[in-house]
């Protein structure tokens, strides 16, 4: 089976380890990602002002292009892309007048009416592949590892557009249980990490991240898992307030470890806070492998 894939800028620029680990994990599960042609940045944030139509053109153009390429479903890995694409899709489906204006602007592409389905990787794993199948591929169960799933905002809200219950999500917990790990839960899992304030107010991000990581530690977590490249950057680079910083991994990196995949495709050495020591100590990764 193959699925059309929209990467977005950050996956290509600074979250390479997410993409390579996803490819390896999906290949193990028999799914090929086919990167769509001629994609552009989705615009990252959905404009919330009623008259700012120009801001919706970037995501709609991506849909129009995939439609021209014969696609009907679009896989995204990045929570921010997922959110922006979903909200833009919702807008053209709901609002005929705005849809017409937008289609007027994107003359180079054919008209787009909201026919393409956007899917986040976690939806594919939960709803298409299923935890039972995933479990069959586990070679090294993550026994004894306590994981703190961090959802942040863009995967869950606005409600109705998110992939899980906005107040009590469970997809990452269920997935980590499938891999044999224990899970620590906390209300801070669904609270913002400080997001784009990292650009001009990184002290706000440091305070947010410090709070979230300290809570994860209190709950007995060994490692934080997530799916958003911006949350990853913030949590991985701004845990200075915490005495013993927790490694922050993309959930697919841990899936890869549990599947026994080659460490070089999992990119475990591409983090500010080194996860390898912990994974070695717990016996999930052998020393010779880690050196590769």
């Amino acid at each position: 089976m193959h699925i059309d894939y929209y990467p977005g800028c950050t996956i290509k620029a600074s979250a390479g380890q997410y993409e390579t680990s996803v490819r390896a994990v999906l290949a193990t599960l028999g799914i090929q990602m086919k990167e769509m042609e001629q994609w552009n940045c989705c615009g990252v944030v959905h404009s919330l002002a009623s008259d700012n139509l120009i801001r919706h053109i970037a995501p709609i153009r991506v849909f129009a292009r995939l439609q021209e390429q014969g696609g009907s479903e679009m896989l995204t890995l990045c929570d921010m892309c997922y959110n922006t694409l979903s909200q833009a899709n919702h807008l053209v489906r709901q609002n005929a007048r705005q849809r017409e204006s937008i289609n007027d602007f994107i003359e180079a592409e054919e008209d787009y009416d909201g026919e393409i389905h956007v899917l986040h990787l976690l939806q594919i794993l939960r709803d298409r592949v299923g935890y039972q199948t995933i479990k069959k591929h586990v070679r090294r169960a993550l026994q004894g590892l306590t994981v703190f799933p961090y959802y942040g905002c863009k995967l869950l809200r606005p409600g109705g557009m998110g992939i899980d219950d906005p107040e009590a999500p469970r997809v990452l917990r269920d997935l980590m249980h499938t891999l044999g790990a224990a899970v620590a839960d906390d209300p801070l899992q669904t609270q913002c990490c400080g997001s784009y304030h990292i650009v001009n107010h990184d002290e706000i991000v440091s305070r947010r991240v410090g709070k979230i990581a300290a809570r994860a530690l209190e709950r007995g977590a060994d490692v934080i898992v997530l799916s958003c490249p911006l949350c990853h950057f913030n949590l991985d680079t701004r845990q200075a307030l915490v005495d013993s910083p927790l490694p922050v991994l993309y959930f697919t990196q841990l899936m890869g470890v549990a599947f026994g995949l080659d460490l070089d495709v999992l990119g475990l050495n591409q983090h500010h806070i080194d996860p390898l020591m912990l994974l070695q100590q717990r016996g999930f990764v052998q020393e010779e492998e880690a050196l590769v």
């Binding site: 620029a13 944030v45 009623s50 905002c153 913002c192 304030h197 650009v199 001009n200």
Partner: protein, 133 residues
């Protein structure tokens, strides 16, 4: 001193905020649920429910508040408001009113080169979309 007029007409700030956000600010009954859940209140001068009240009264401090820039559009308040108000859209409307009459809130050219080089593209694009006109 606060001057509150009772002309029966919505004040200018309220009119613009309502139009840009598409929200009925009068629907707010000041329960404070939005502020109770907001992860950013520790960084705000006026809390989300206070901001709404100030806009309803046409108080210009709403536009001068740091809160509108600290809000990161996390949508938690929208999720929880018992009156179905999308507070995040009111925040966006206030930022837009400011950006459309003043200059940019973040000056891209003044950011250190190392910052620009280090950060993921989603951080930069999101920030500039929120903080520049």
């Amino acid at each position: 001193m606060i001057k509150i007029t009772a002309s029966g007409r919505p004040n200018e700030l309220l009119r613009k905020a309502a139009a840009l956000s598409g929200q009925d600010l009068f629907a707010c009954y000041q329960c404070g649920t939005c502020s109770a859940g907001c992860p950013m209140v520790a960084e705000m001068d006026l809390l989300p429910d206070q901001l709404i009240r100030h806009v309803l009264f046409g108080m210009s401090d709403a536009l001068e508040s740091t809160a509108i820039w600290v809000c990161a559009s996390c949508y938690l308040c929208d999720e929880r408001c018992p009156r179905g108000i999308d507070v995040s859209k009111i925040m966006e409307a206030l930022r837009q009113i400011w950006l459309r009459q003043n200059e940019d809130y973040v000056h891209v050219a003044q950011l250190p080169k190392e910052t620009l080089a280090e950060l993921p593209p989603i951080a930069l694009v999101a920030n500039f979309r929120k903080n520049t006109g």
